[in-house]
């Protein structure tokens, strides 16, 4: 189903930003389920450094929108413990770069706790975190680390590219009984889109969205690069090249089928994701496509991403390093 069709199925939509969509998802889930509560650094009164949780503290109070000490291992571990007895913590990790200080609690504890319990405990933890360059936030606050999380068995990872998916994925993550990381790209918080207002609207984990249909080349794009790829596709249409743009939305589980089906049709694939290019999300998507659609390929698969370096502090250099719609266009031009 195309994302457009999916939204039309929902009776009503409202135009809002990605930030508002995440906030609405949090508000609705806090209202729906008493077991859900938020915690993180400065998420309460202050409303989060990127203002995502703004206002929720006033609505739900200090117990349900909980400020924690600066203690990433502390709240990843506490969430793991708290989830084992049935509460549903939603944790904000201020910048995904800080996953490092809590990695033991993430990869060895949260990811494996259900397994260590022999399946007798669920792990309904949601971790929301921000990713990406473009804010001049320098190398230690601009990383895109989702490959890392998508790699560890026991965890699930989603990365919305539109306001609608930001809401639907956040709600699905909170309702899931598995630990789910929601990777919010900082540069799209202001991006607007139509979002279903139905409180039961969720996007199942593991379902990609075909954001634009096309016959000539498949572009699998994530996060900020979804919008950029859609713009590129529109301008390329004038030159007679029709690109199909797919937002996987969920990185693990990954909807291989939708992507493979598209490649069978187009014979060409571009994977655009802000992760560093080596050993990453791009490689996984490409590997799956060649496993299943090798003989449908008419051209070498192209990757668009960040070079294997760190995000520069200098704004012009940062813009140089960051992948964008022009890079997607060049990649398409190389193979069409």
């Amino acid at each position: 189903m195309t994302a457009q069709a999916e939204r039309e199925l929902e009776t009503e939509t409202e135009t809002m930003t990605v930030r508002e969509a995440v906030r609405q998802a949090l508000r609705e889930e806090l209202e729906r389920d008493e077991d859900v509560y938020l915690m993180g650094e400065d998420v309460g009164l202050f409303g989060g450094v990127l203002e995502v949780t703004s206002g929720l503290y006033d609505e739900f109070g200090a117990e349900r929108v909980r400020d924690t000490p600066i203690s990433e291992a502390g709240f990843m571990g506490a969430a793991t413990g708290a989830a084992a007895t049935g509460t549903r913590p939603v944790v904000e990790l201020m910048f995904s770069d800080f996953a490092g200080v809590s990695m033991e609690q993430i990869m060895n504890q949260m990811a494996k706790m259900r397994y260590m319990f022999g399946g007798k405990a669920e792990m309904p933890v949601t971790v929301r975190t921000t990713e990406g360059g473009g804010m001049g936030a320098a190398s230690q606050h601009s990383g895109t680390i989702h490959t890392w999380i998508a790699h560890f068995p026991g965890l699930k990872a989603v990365a919305p590219g539109t306001a609608a998916s930001a809401k639907g994925l956040t709600k699905a993550a909170i309702r899931s009984n598995d630990p789910v990381f929601v990777f919010e790209n900082k540069m799209i918080y202001e991006q607007e889109g139509a979002v279903p207002t139905d409180e039961e609207f969720t996007i199942p984990l593991g379902e990609a969205a075909v954001e634009r249909e096309g016959e000539d080349v498949t572009v699998v794009a994530t996060q900020r690069l979804v919008g950029e790829s859609l713009q590129t596709a529109e301008s390329l249409a004038e030159t007679g090249v029709e690109a199909e743009v797919i937002d996987p939305r969920s990185l693990y589980p990954l909807d291989t089928e939708t992507i493979v089906e598209s490649v069978r049709k187009t014979g060409r694939l571009i994977v655009a994701d802000e992760s560093p290019l080596s050993y990453g999300t791009h490689a996984e998507i490409i590997a799956r496509v060649q496993e299943e659609a090798f003989f449908s390929l008419d051209a070498p698969i192209q990757r668009v991403g960040t070079p294997d370096t760190h995000m520069p502090f200098s704004t012009p250099l940062e813009q140089e390093v960051l992948p964008d719609g022009d890079d997607v266009r060049e990649a398409i031009e190389r193979v069409t």
Binding site: F75, A78, T80, A82, A83, Q105, N108
Partner: protein, 323 residues
């Protein structure tokens, strides 16, 4: 009486020695401390254990066969969700933030349960110790951190672990009380931990430092003669055997005689025999079980990988697997 724990430990060591199960961390010398503490817990309380605290798990009601099965490669026996026992932590100190979270969840649900988090002296050097205790203090989590100072962390003596003169005093930095107890006196430990749990239920966590001694090796793959002299350079009360001490105390009080001991020993032997039998007759794990507990909702990839493995394992001729 914790003769049960002593005999279990001895038997487990023997079973490991003949290759019946994988590496085992004996708790010999720490039974007084562990059994005393475990008996202070109420049924609804949670125990957050480690690999070392099996005497606590046994006192809590975890069957002997579970502990053996875990060591024979059945991960689901690392915990007992029905008895409110968390999986044994092996990565050091990682269980401490979990305990804080369990306490926060108890507060959140307005429930009366408290959490007893076991840890070793070595664990106090990890970041998770700091983060977990700090969380418990800030969120008034009903947790008793039960630190067994057994003098050693593998080959590292307690003095090389921290320059702090006691472990108990570290609690001060987190805004709650730290207390020391003679870990070789089970009655004293029980009383102190019971009082600590009551305080914890009121929102005041406690750090208990139970002073005892690891009589044996760190695990079955360790040889302590490489790094420590016997007898240890510690006061006698630290290294004294808690079992002998309790035995003579009970006899002096006139509540135990040779007949009682024989009876207890017979019971324990019967329980051990049965546990070994149960563990031995447990069905071989099915290959599919490798996949089941990973997710509540398995991913399509995992389902495919599971199907492939099962197809492989279902072949008539298992030798196919080797080709």
């Amino acid at each position: 009486m914790y003769k049960r724990q002593r005999r279990f430990d001895e038997r487990a060591l023997a079973l490991q020695r003949r290759g019946w199960m994988s590496g085992y961390p004996p708790y010999r010398g720490q039974e007084g401390s562990q059994v005393g503490a475990a008996h202070a817990l109420a049924a609804e309380d949670w125990l957050v254990p480690t690999y070392r605290s099996n005497a606590m798990q046994l006192a809590r009601g975890v069957p002997m066969s579970d502990i053996l099965l875990f060591r024979r490669g059945y991960p689901e026996y690392a915990s007992d969700h029905d008895l409110n026992v968390f999986p044994q932590a092996v990565p050091i100190a990682t269980q401490i933030p979990h305990a804080a979270g369990l306490g926060m969840a108890a507060n959140y649900g307005d429930s009366e349960e408290a959490i007893c988090c076991y840890l070793g002296d070595g664990a106090t050097s990890e970041g998770d110790f700091h983060e977990g205790l700090n969380f418990a203090g800030v969120f008034e989590a009903p947790v008793v951190f039960f630190c067994e100072n057994n003098g050693w962390a593998i080959s590292t003596p307690r003095e090389r672990q921290t320059a702090s003169d006691t472990i108990a005093r570290k609690a001060e930095a987190y805004g709650f009380e730290g207390v020391r107890v003679d870990g070789n006196d089970p009655l004293a430990v029980r009383e102190l931990v019971a009082a600590a749990l009551e305080r914890a239920r009121e929102g005041r966590p406690v750090l208990v430092e139970s002073l005892t001694y690891r009589q044996g090796a760190h695990t079955t793959s360790d040889d302590p003669s490489r790094y420590r002299d016997e007898p240890a350079a510690l006061p006698d009360w630290r290294t004294a055997d808690p079992l002998e001490r309790y035995d003579s105390f009970l006899r002096e009080e006139g509540v135990l005689d040779d007949d009682d001991v024989t009876e207890i020993e017979d019971e324990v032997e019967a329980e051990l025999e049965e546990a070994v039998e149960v563990a031995e007759s447990a069905p071989e794990p099915e290959p599919g079980e490798v996949f089941d507990p990973v997710y509540a909702e398995p991913t399509p990839r995992l389902a495919e990988q599971r199907a492939r493995l099962e197809e492989f394992a279902d072949r008539e001729d298992r030798r196919d697997l080797e080709r």
